[in-house]
């Protein structure tokens, strides 16, 4: 009997205008969304390649270890074509400095290079499923009882040996049997796009995630079908049912997530980053004061009064490049750097406490927002989707943890190779080829005497008196074959798996609650 009821509902749905419209809608929107997402992904890949080349060039040209500040570039997630999550908000690369922990990625991950096009509204596959399938689920279920009641067919059915639960299950299966082919169709379309795209490649794990996404989509559709059925069991008229269903849809899909964001933003206060920067600059000031004292004390020990450089480049981040000049200056740095770098790293730890506090505040805000948004099934589904596609906040946090771990690996590498104690930190030049102080002073005096006598005379003097070793161009770049490289492979970690499973269980739980509530309600439904 149930199969008869299922068949009846399936055939009626199949021949209804809403099915045709739903199918056409998916037929149009899904390919369009996939094309846009894949286009965006390809652009991001191009951007990634450019960034990687730039980072490699930077590394290739390093002639001192202090100049090595590797750029970590985040590879675009191929699964982002299914769910973008926060990937467009978090930047693409960061430079690893020893004096400071990396907090966020910088740069624009958004491939749209025209800011005037920011109004361009594009949504990803998961969002389309969340919006369209929930709407279709409600459209197919809002009148499942009311219409039969209005047409008296429900009475004609119950004149026969049919229990209410059989009728209910028949209805549910009939609607699902109509909707699931549409859902499967959407996934088959996406599968075809992936298979036919030469630029996309997915690992077995990725396919596993897509399968999980598909299963979640089914549960998600069931939740909305049951919601529509529940509403239909609560009212007598289809006109009331559709109004309530649409209001519920708007509430769950659009209002609830925004209210959650608003509430999290307003009720969980975080510091402004300006305040964090100020607190960090205070720590830097403390460091510079200590640095100044140390600088003076080393100069005193070496009995030098001021540093002389012939060819020097440096930065507040610890980069130092010295070629030529008096040997006393080189010796100063040989004493100064072994103090400066570890101390700078210590101060980075101090600053990290402030940065972490700020970041924890942001993460707390995000957790509250996500927690509140769990009241909406569509948000549960979207959170789950972005976690499966590695584009959620947790994936980003894990990624940044790995980036910070990489910084630690670099520190260990420098320490183990004793580069802080070595002249290689600041020069490729042999220390012995720096000039004795008296000779350098004589050279400076000679140079002063030709200054102002014309460019040619100056150049001639320099050519005759400057050894090649004083020029950084004289040295080949460092051999960095053993230099640690940053590697990261997105995968479902225990934390994310937990996150996904909780949301999946929540959707299932919601479906079961709605199923029971609707069945109970329908048992008392006035025919």
């Amino acid at each position: 009997m149930i199969s008869l009821l299922v068949k009846k509902d399936f055939l009626l749905n199949l021949t209804s205008a809403r099915f045709i419209i739903g199918l056409l809608l998916c037929l149009f929107i899904i390919p369009f969304t996939l094309i846009v997402s894949m286009d965006r992904y390809n652009d991001q890949q191009e951007l990634y390649k450019v960034n990687i080349e730039r980072a490699e060039d930077k590394m290739k040209n390093s002639k001192e270890y202090s100049s090595i500040r590797p750029d970590v570039v985040r590879q675009p997630e191929s699964l982002s074509i299914f769910s973008e999550g926060i990937s467009e908000n978090i930047g693409m690369s960061t430079t690893i400095y020893l004096f400071q922990y990396p907090l966020f990625l910088q740069g624009n991950a958004n491939s749209i290079d025209n800011p005037l096009l920011n109004a361009f509204f594009s949504i990803d596959f998961a969002t389309v499923i969340a919006i369209i399938m929930s709407l279709l689920a409600l459209v197919f279920s809002y009148d499942c009882f009311t219409l039969e009641r209005e047409d008296s067919t429900i009475k004609m059915i119950f004149v026969n040996k049919i229990s209410r639960s059989s009728f209910f299950i028949g209805k549910l299966c009939g609607i699902l049997l109509t909707l699931l082919p549409i859902l499967v169709f959407c996934y088959i379309l996406s599968f075809l796009f992936i298979v036919l795209s030469p630029k996309l490649s997915f690992s077995i794990n990725d396919w596993g995630n897509i399968l999980l996404l598909f299963l979640s989509s089914i549960v998600y559709v069931i939740v909305f079908v049951l919601l529509g059925m529940f509403i239909s069991s609560m009212v007598k008229r289809s006109s009331s049912s559709i109004i309530i269903s649409l209001l519920a849809w708007i509430w769950f899909l659009f209002l609830m997530p925004n209210i959650a964001s608003y509430a999290a933003h307003n009720f969980v206060k975080t510091r402004l980053y300006d305040n964090v920067s100020f607190a960090m600059s205070e720590i830097d000031d403390e460091f510079w004061k200590e640095d100044n004292d140390k600088n003076n004390s080393i100069q005193k020990e070496l009995e030098i009064n001021g540093l002389n450089h012939w060819n020097m480049n440096g930065d507040y981040d610890g980069r130092l490049s010295i070629y030529g000049g008096p040997r006393s200056t080189a010796e100063f740095y040989l004493r100064y750097i072994p103090w400066y770098m570890p101390r700078s790293i210590d101060y980075a730890d101090k600053k990290w406490a402030i940065q972490k506090d700020y970041f924890d505040g942001l993460a707390r805000q995000e957790k509250i927002q996500q927690g509140l948004a769990l009241l909406s099934p569509s948000e549960i589904f979207l959170q789950l989707s972005s976690a499966l596609c590695h584009t959620d906040a947790n994936s980003f946090i894990i990624y940044m943890d790995k980036v910070r771990e990489y910084r630690q690996v670099l520190i260990t590498y420098f320490k183990e190779n004793k580069f802080f104690e070595s002249s290689k930190w600041f020069t490729s030049q042999n220390i012995d080829s720096f000039a004795e102080d008296e000779i350098y002073q004589a050279f400076l005096d000679g140079y002063s005497s030709v200054i102002g006598k014309g460019r040619e005379i100056e150049d001639k003097f320099l050519k005759e008196n400057i050894p090649e070793e004083w020029n950084s161009g004289y040295y080949p770049p460092l051999d960095l074959n053993d230099f640690p490289k940053f590697t990261y492979k997105s995968q479902i970690s225990g934390k994310i798996l937990n996150f996904v499973l909780i949301r999946f269980a929540l959707l299932l739980f919601l479906a079961i609650i709605l199923l029971m509530a609707t069945m109970l309600r329908f048992r008392k439904y006035q025919l």
């Binding site: 209005e150 067919t153 009475k155 040996k161």
Partner: protein
């Protein structure tokens, strides 16, 4: 056979819809239940169909208590509602096929459906047309065909002639007459006194949930049924 024993229904809002109804409709009998709107006619049908639960008393179909064994009683009963809508996107035959299978008739052929539809007076060209193109009278005929095809011993009809043209109503009465001759117990709720006079074996008038008058065919043909009915209705109107 349909039996109501002290059958009472009081709704949750306190309204007494049916007050201790005692009734017995024998096989081969057409019983017309007359009464104004809200008199309790549809409530009676709903109680026999177990669409609502009685407050007290019993509704019995072929010796089986509806409350005790509701699904079992469904085998012995057919129903035609006042407003037969059915499934507009199905053809008349598809509707018939669905409800016939639901009623346990799984071995019927296309020709069997056509025979029934001919029997209720549906035109041949309408058999494979979608029901949404049908007039009310045509839909009513399909509804009747559904009730007939189940071949249940008891048939309940809730104002089936309302909205029908006189010709269709007369055809319907002819069909009921034929069904009575095959031994069916027929309970028909209606306002239609003319039709009652033409085919009813017994007539009952309901007022405010009570069966206030019961007449056999001989009795109501002797008395003036219209006058009796109007008198009862008058009293209803006059009551404070």
């Amino acid at each position: 056979m349909l039996q109501a024993i002290e059958l009472t229904k009081r709704y949750e809002d306190g309204q007494l819809a049916l007050d201790a109804l005692n009734l017995e409709i024998k096989p081969g009998e057409i019983f017309f239940l007359l009464g104004a709107n809200g008199a309790g006619k549809t409530t009676t049908i709903n109680l026999f169909l177990n669409f609502i639960e009685p407050t007290s008393g019993k509704a019995i179909i072929d010796g089986i208590d509806v409350m005790e064994n509701p699904l079992e009683t469904k085998k012995y009963i057919s129903y035609v509602s006042e407003n037969v809508m059915l499934y507009g996107n199905f053809t008349a035959r598809q509707n018939l096929d669905f409800f016939a299978k639901l009623g346990g008739k799984t071995n019927l052929r296309k020709e069997d459906y056509y025979t029934i539809m001919r029997k209720v007076g549906l035109q041949e060209e309408a058999f494979e047309k979608k029901l949404k193109t049908f007039s009310k009278g045509m839909r009513q005929k399909v509804g009747l065909a559904i009730a007939i095809i189940k071949d249940a011993p008891n048939i309940l009809l809730d104002e089936p002639t309302s909205g029908l043209d006189p010709k269709s109503a007369a055809e319907l009465m002819q069909i009921l007459n034929n069904l009575r001759n095959t031994g069916k117990s027929i309970l028909m709720c209606t306002h239609d006194i003319l039709r009652a006079k033409s085919v009813a074996d017994r007539v009952g008038i309901m007022k405010e949930g009570r069966l206030v008058m019961l007449r056999s065919r001989e009795e109501f043909l002797q008395d003036d049924l219209e006058r009796i009915y109007l008198d009862y209705m008058q009293e209803t109107v006059m009551m404070p």
